[in-house]
Structures are given as structure tokens and as C-alpha cells.
């Protein structure tokens, strides 16, 4: 497991933190990370600005045109991409180890010196708007958007990072440049490099590209308002005509990633809707009732709070039946403790699957991002088994009760309503 013995963590004077973990078993590198520019900084009428900015970074930089960037990248078989979420804009790239200097140059140019050429911004906007038009027809996405809206009212977590057609349609190239100028700073940036490169060599390459980037001495802080758990049930349906399947999302708040509740909740979530063929809910909704191809749960834990969700795709005729079955499973889950066998199975699953999660440079890279992002400690994955094994069935029950109230669930669906 990655740990202090093989992770090198360095912070440059301008605030960029670099984590390296060499792996010479394959001549490739995976690079990932983020900086503190997210949709939380989007003005409400410009929702989608952070995302639009991230997706425009490779449309031309001071050193290279769009054509040159992709000519270099695709010729060497490498890939690089940018994305934005609520708190951060993130990036990832994959290349042969020998091409790392070029990749870092492309990354540095995209993060520091993007040009946002007008003709390209028009193209990206049309692509984003088409994506949003397709989203409006996606029953799973629309049920999920509505769920977030109801669970996080007046909060950045309740608004889609990719915005709405009206907001994205109004964003101009100058606004992208302004967003970039205001929020793309080295302070708080994290860069993770995993693969066939020694840590010292990686640090030298990173310093060469980024050390002269000046930090923002007075960064604005963006605090999200507190989120209160729903105190009554809510039900909402988005009608999308012509759909064969209706998608369903239901649930409640979940713990923040940094909360001590996280691991007990994650184990409980595994029992409720993941373990084996989608846990208890998969067993009842798919295996026994044959109502859905998929019916499972997810725990989404972010900086301040999270969500605990059940999702399923069902025939419109079976929608209410599926909702009732799921509510009764959630009720059972908060009324009685899970069995010792169920808990021990999930504990064993969490520990046993770690080698598979860490087999590739990509898996390790994403784990290191989590360590840094949520301040988990470099020894997190080495201590992981202990943390998992100390959870009791009472811990799972008490944690579930803190978050899942069967009488105050948010239930959303999208598609045709019978």
C-alpha cells in the first residue's frame, strides 16, 4: 500500500503541493490534481462558468495553438483533460514516462497561460449546450439534478456544475479569462505524479514549470452556508415524454468525507445497496421482485457534507412499487442493527479490494488526491484495515440513524409518469 515510505510530499514556496509515488513496473506516468477554482465561485446567472473555463484551457495557450496542443498530445499517444466541480477544477493526464516533460509543459501552459480564443469559445459553447440538451433527455441525470436541488436548497451542492442552457449560453470569452485570472492560482494547487519517474526528477520538472507562478496573497474565501437535513418528505417528478424507463433517486444527507461518520456510513452503505449484487436493495428490487436492471446505493461525501442516495431504473408502471420497497428497506436499516456476518463481509470486502483499487498508476493517483484533499494522512491506506475493523454493528446503526430518516426522504424521478 502507498504510505510515507514511498510517497514524497513537497510544497513549493508558492503553495503548490506535489505528491509523487514512483512505480517502475511500467514505463508510464499518470498525473492528476486540482486547484481551488470551482462552481462555488460561479455567479448565479453564470452557473457553469468554472466548468466552461476548465474545458476551454486547451483551446490555445501562449505557446501553442489548439491544433499544436493536440498534435503533440495525440502523436505521442498521451491524453489530458480538465474538469470542474463545486470546490475545485481538476486535471488528469496519462503518458509514457519519457514524455513527462512535455506533459508538464502542456499542463503548465493550459493552467497558467490559456488564451480563450473567441472562435474556439463559440465551438466549446455549442458543445456544452448540446451536452445540456442531451442531459435534459437523460432520465437518470435529471432525477439526480432534481434530487440535489431539493436536498441542498440555496447551496452550491444543489446546483449543477455544468450550469443551465441560459447561463452557459450567456458566458463570453472575456468572462472565462476573468474567471481564470481571478481564481487560477498556485495556492492550494495539488499535483500528483505516479509512475515511472523518481520523485526528485519529478520535483525538478514541476519546479521548472511552476515555481515562478506567483501566489495570490489575499485569496477570497468562499464558504458555503450550512445545510440542514430535510425535516419532511419531498416528492418530485420531472416529466420527459417518450421514455421507456423512469429513473429514480431517493435519499438524504450523508456525512462529509472528513467526518468520523464516514467509514461506518460507507460500510452501512455497502450493506444497504452495494455488496454482492447491490446489497439488500439490489436483492429486494432486482433479484426478488425483478423490477429493475439496476437498484443500488451510493454515499457521496464532499468537503462540508454529503448525500446518501438510492438510485434505480424501472418501468413507469413499477415506480411506486420500487419506491415502497426501498423505503421499507431503509426503515429496516435504521430500526435494527445489521448482522455481524453482514458487517464482517463488508469489512472484508473493503480491505480485500484495496490491492485491486491500487493496481494501476491511475488508482494510486486518485488515492493520493483523496489523501491530500481530505487531509487523511500519508499513512491512511496503511491504517485503513484497522479503521475499518474497529467499526461495530452499533456504529453502523447509530450512523444510519443520524442520516437516514425514512419519514423525511427526498424522492425524485424522471421520465414518464404512469
Amino acid at each position: 500500500m502507498p504510505g510515507p515510505h514511498d510517497i514524497t510530499r513537497t510544497t513549493l514556496p508558492n503553495g503548490i503541493t506535489l505528491l509523487c509515488r514512483p512505480n517502475f513496473s511500467s514505463p508510464s506516468v499518470y498525473l492528476t490534481g486540482y486547484l481551488a477554482a470551482g462552481s462555488i465561485q460561479d455567479p448565479p446567472q453564470k452557473l457553469g462558468l468554472a466548468n466552461f473555463t476548465a474545458r476551454s484551457l486547451m483551446r490555445g495557450t501562449q505557446k501553442r495553438s489548439f491544433q499544436q496542443i493536440y498534435q503533440e498530445l495525440e502523436t505521442i499517444g498521451a491524453s489530458m483533460g480538465f474538469d470542474a466541480n463545486v470546490h475545485t477544477s481538476s486535471f488528469s493526464a496519462r503518458a509514457l514516462s519519457e514524455d513527462l516533460p512535455l506533459i508538464l509543459d502542456l499542463l503548465s501552459q493550459a493552467l497558467r497561460f490559456p488564451l480563450f480564443p473567441e472562435e474556439h469559445i463559440l465551438k466549446v459553447r455549442a458543445q456544452l449546450l448540446t451536452g445540456l440538451a442531451m442531459r435534459a433527455q437523460d432520465t437518470a441525470e435529471m432525477a439526480s439534478l432534481e434530487f440535489d436541488r431539493l436536498l441542498f436548497p440555496n447551496h452550491p451542492y444543489g446546483r449543477p456544475e455544468d450550469g443551465f442552457p441560459e447561463s452557459v449560453g450567456s458566458i463570453q470569452a472575456g468572462e472565462l479569462a476573468a474567471f481564470h485570472g481571478n481564481y487560477y492560482k498556485p495556492n492550494g494547487m495539488v499535483l500528483v505524479i505516479v509512475g515511472g519517474i523518481a520523485a526528485e526528477a519529478a520535483l525538478d520538472m514541476v519546479a521548472a514549470q511552476f515555481s515562478d507562478w506567483q501566489p495570490d496573497l489575499h485569496p477570497e474565501t468562499f464558504d458555503a452556508p450550512p445545510v440542514l437535513p430535510p425535516d419532511k418528505p419531498a416528492r418530485s417528478h420531472i416529466t420527459i415524454p417518450g421514455m421507456s424507463q423512469t429513473d429514480l433517486v431517493m435519499g438524504a444527507l450523508g456525512p462529509a468525507r472528513t467526518s468520523p461518520d464516514y467509514i461506518p456510513a460507507a460500510l452501512g452503505n455497502n450493506i444497504l445497496g452495494q455488496f454482492g449484487m447491490m446489497g439488500r436493495i439490489g436483492d429486494v428490487v432486482r433479484e426478488k421482485a425483478g423490477l429493475a436492471y439496476y437498484a443500488s446505493t451510493s454515499l457521496n461525501a464532499w468537503m462540508h457534507v454529503g448525500s446518501w442516495e438510492v438510485s434505480a431504473g424501472v418501468n413507469p408502471q413499477n415506480l411506486q412499487k420500487a419506491i415502497d420497497l426501498i423505503i421499507s428497506e431503509i426503515s429496516r436499516f435504521v430500526q435494527e442493527p445489521v448482522s455481524a456476518d453482514e458487517l464482517s463481509d463488508s469489512q472484508s470486502n473493503f480491505i480485500g479490494r484495496l490491492p485491486l483499487q491500487m493496481e494501476s498508476n491511475g488508482g494510486v493517483g486518485n488515492a493520493l488526491v483523496n489523501i491530500e484533499r481530505f487531509n487523511l494522512g500519508l499513512d491512511y491506506y496503511q491504517q485503513y484495515a484497522n479503521r475499518v475493523m474497529t467499526v461495530s454493528t452499533d456504529d453502523v446503526l447509530n450512523t444510519a440513524r443520524r442520516y437516514l430518516n425514512p419519514d423525511a426522504l427526498i424522492v425524485t424521478s424522471a421520465g414518464v409518469m404512469e
Partner: protein
């Protein structure tokens, strides 16, 4: 090596890779990789939608679902828990020519996957109650697909592209057939196609080859030998004329799909066609389980239709198959353009590639991209095991081993000839998805 006993034929030994055949006909491909304490185990069967008859479409995929519903030794609900308990992952896929099952597990628990696969090769239960429960699950899976415009377009194009070959049906099957297929139909399909001689077993990971072979011989020795099932389909050549299908459906976004007949995987033109696809629509990879892909922004079609704002995205698809299948180009129409404008822009670019020789550097670039993709994909043990069996389903393992070399050997003249033979504008299906709320006029 100290292991060589009656009943196992060693077909090939090559460093860490070896090929064997058990006396009941089961092909075994093993590759030792000791970088992580993991093993990925696959069983491939030579059965897919290609082996289906009218009225029974979707039966191969449904059999695959029933393979998760228990055997006498491993009743329904027991195995999924056992695999999860040890941190393993498992899944299965049904495609045109094949059905495959895999488990990737911590190495010290891989015996569980081995025992399971041996058991469900010959003694799955097909409990009638489970069959009925799974009928609605599969109908639900199909309904989920139908929500996606590209699925609807795909289904119409595929149907129009074949006169009689079973490839004309979606793998998931026709809704009417999913209502009428019976438990006996499913069981008969299973008994016909699931046998050692119709399967290939592959393992990659942290094990000792001789030890694994002994275990496999013990597990499979008792499974009776049946003759391999013959292929049933007669091949179809170039699409005889220009065909047009239009699909109306919800949404605001239009899609265009062009489908040409493509050579089968063991056809001499296949690798030149792979280069052609890479130049037109960007490189594809055989990394199904991590390792990423390469963007296609410098490809000819991206430049011609996306950069010039006829479309917001374009892709190409060439599948290695037993019989000639399809080469498909799909474009998402730009909100300010019509499908006809996209078709014209694609055609202009295809005309160019049918006229002019490409430069040798373009072939070298495509080969380098393929090589890089294999490096990235090889970090995942599941990819490594997948590669061991995949090519056996439509050609032979050599097809995979020689993949990059054969790409490198393609000449510009071959690419030109392949474009001229296979991409003829009067021999294709043109599929258009017309969105009900779209602003475009056709």
C-alpha cells in the same frame, strides 16, 4: 518445467505465457504476472447474438444473466457474496460472437472463481422462478437502453444493414422475443453452447503455471466432451445499395450514423482498415478495464466536421468479428446545422481519403498510439487477462500478439485500396435520428 501429464497438450510456451488444451477440448491460456497479488480469470464461450435464430433474439444475453442464478454447489446469492467478501470483482458480457465471464480477485482466493466457472459451465440450474424474475430485469435493461437516442438509431441501422445475418439484431434482443422465450429455450441454448470444447479459459496474474494447470485439470476433467457448436450464419458482403433509415424520437439533438460493411477480423484488409479508422476518427484501444483512450481532435473527420462546426462530436467504430460486420461513423449534429449538411461534410472527407495516398508517417503515428495504449492498459491485470482470450473469439491469439506489428506493416497503398473498396457512398446505410423538439429541417 516438471508438469506434463496425460491429457494436457502444450500448444505454446513463451516466457510467462503458455497455451494448453485439456483432453475435453478446453483451451487454456495462462500468463504469469507477479507485480501485484491479484489474478484475473476469464472463461469465454463461442456464442453470441450471431448464434441466434429469429424469434429467439437476446437468448445468449439472457443465458448470461441466468449464469448468475446458481448451480447446485453455488446457489443463487451465495457466490456474489463470496466474491465480494474477498474484495473481488466479477461481471460478464455478451456480444455478437461471444459471451465472457470474469473474476478478478486477490490471488489467494482465486480458487473460488475457478470452482464457480467450472460449475456453471455445465450445471447451472435455470430455476423457472428465476427465469421469470430475470425476464423483467432484462426488459428493464432494454427499456433503459431505449431511453438513449443512439440505441434507437443503432437498432434501426443494424437492422437495415443486413438482409438475413443474425448481426442485424441488437444483442439484448427484440422485445417480443424477450416476452416469449421460455425456460426450456434458455436451457437448450445453454446446453448447446456451454461446453469445454466451445470455450477458452484465460488467467493472468500472480500464480504458478504448473500449479494452476493441475487445478484446472481436476476441475474440468469431469465435464463431458461435446462437439463444438458449428457457426450458423452465412456471411453478407458489401451492402448492395444505398439505404436510408430515419428514427423519430424525443430530444433536441440530431445524430447521423453511416454504416458500411467491414471485413471480418481475419480478413487481410482488417489491419489496413484499423489504420483507416484511426486516421478518420481517431485511435481506438483494447483497454476495456482502465488505461484510458486518446482524444481524436487531430483526426480527419474531427477536423472536417467538428472544427468546421457541422457537428459537436464524431467517432468511428470498427469491431473485430467472425463474419463481416459494420464500420460505423457517428456524428452529433451541431445545433445550428442539419443532418444533411453533416452528411455532405463527412462525404467530402471520405471522398478525399478515397482519392489521395496518405503519408507513411500517419501509419507510424497510429502504430505508436496503439503501442502507448497497450502500455497504459497493461497496468490493469483485468485487461491483461481479457487480451489473452479476446482474439480467440474471432481469430486466434496470434491476432492479438501481432496487432501492433501488423498495424506498423500497413502501407499507404493498402489504406487507399481499403477506403476505395469498403467505403463506397452507394453501398451503405445512412441513419438519421430526428429529434421531436429539434430546430433542424431535414
Amino acid at each position: 518445467m516438471g508438469w506434463c501429464w496425460l491429457g494436457i497438450i502444450i500448444l505454446l510456451m513463451n516466457n510467462s505465457f503458455s497455451q494448453h488444451q485439456l483432453s475435453n477440448g478446453l483451451l487454456v491460456h495462462l500468463k504469469e504476472i507477479h507485480t501485484a497479488p491479484l489474478v484475473s480469470h476469464w472463461v469465454w464461450y463461442r456464442v453470441g447474438s450471431r448464434n441466434e435464430v429469429p424469434g429467439k433474439t437476446g437468448i445468449s444475453h439472457w443465458v448470461e444473466h441466468m449464469q448468475f442464478k446458481g448451480t447446485p454447489a453455488y446457489p443463487s446469492g451465495v457466490l456474489d457474496k463470496a466474491i465480494s467478501r474477498y474484495g473481488g470483482v466479477w461481471n460478464a458480457f455478451t456480444y455478437l460472437d461471444w459471451t465472457a465471464y470474469f473474476e478478478t480477485m486477490p490471488a489467494d482466493h482465486i480458487h473460488l472463481a475457478m470452482e464457480l466457472e467450472a460449475s456453471r459451465m455445465h450445471e447451472s440450474l435455470f430455476d423457472p422462478l428465476e427465469v421469470e424474475s430475470e425476464r423483467t430485469v432484462i426488459l428493464s435493461e432494454r427499456e433503459g437502453n431505449e431511453n438513449i437516442p443512439i440505441f434507437r438509431l443503432d437498432e434501426a441501422v443494424q437492422r437495415a444493414a443486413f438482409d438475413s445475418h443474425p448481426y442485424q439484431h441488437e444483442v439484448i434482443g427484440e422485445t417480443a422475443d424477450l416476452h416469449s422465450i421460455s425456460r426450456d429455450d434458455l436451457y437448450q441454448h445453454y446446453r448447446t453452447y456451454y461446453s469445454p470444447a466451445n470455450a477458452v479459459l484465460c488467467m493472468a496474474g500472480d500464480f504458478q503455471t504448473d500449479e494452476m494447470l493441475k487445478t484446472l485439470e481436476q476441475l474440468y476433467a469431469g465435464i463431458s466432451v461435446k462437439p463444438a457448436s458449428p457457426g450458423t450464419a452465412s456471411q453478407e458482403g458489401i451492402i448492395p445499395d444505398r439505404r436510408r433509415v430515419e428514427v423519430n424520437g424525443p430530444g433536441e439533438t440530431a445524430f447521423v450514423r453511416l454504416a458500411y460493411r467491414a471485413p471480418q477480423a481475419d480478413h487481410p484488409d482488417f489491419f489496413a482498415f484499423t489504420i483507416l479508422d484511426s486516421l478518420l476518427a481517431g485511435p481506438s484501444s483494447l483497454n476495456l478495464f482502465g488505461g484510458g483512450g486518446i482524444s481524436n481532435k487531430t483526426s480527419r473527420l474531427y477536423q472536417a466536421v467538428v472544427e468546421r462546426e457541422f457537428a459537436v462530436g464524431v467517432s468511428g467504430s470498427l469491431q473485430p468479428t467472425i463474419d463481416p460486420y459494420l464500420y460505423e461513423i457517428t456524428a452529433t449534429v451541431h445545433p445550428k446545422r442539419t443532418s444533411e449538411e453533416v452528411l455532405a461534410a463527412v462525404d467530402q472527407e471520405l471522398e478525399r481519403i478515397r482519392q489521395d495516398l496518405i503519408i507513411p508517417d500517419e501509419v507510424a503515428r497510429a502504430a505508436k498510439q496503439a503501442r502507448a495504449q497497450f502500455v497504459f492498459g497493461s497496468e490493469n491485470i483485468t485487461n491483461q487477462a481479457f487480451w489473452l482470450g479476446y482474439a480467440e473469439m474471432f481469430a486466434h491469439y496470434d491476432w492479438f500478439e501481432q496487432y501492433v506489428d501488423r498495424l506498423s506493416a500497413v502501407t499507404p497503398e493498402e489504406v487507399l485500396r481499403v477506403a476505395q473498396i469498403w467505403l463506397q457512398p452507394d453501398h451503405r446505410v445512412e441513419g438519421i435520428y430526428i429529434p421531436e423538439n429539434g430546430g433542424q429541417s431535414l
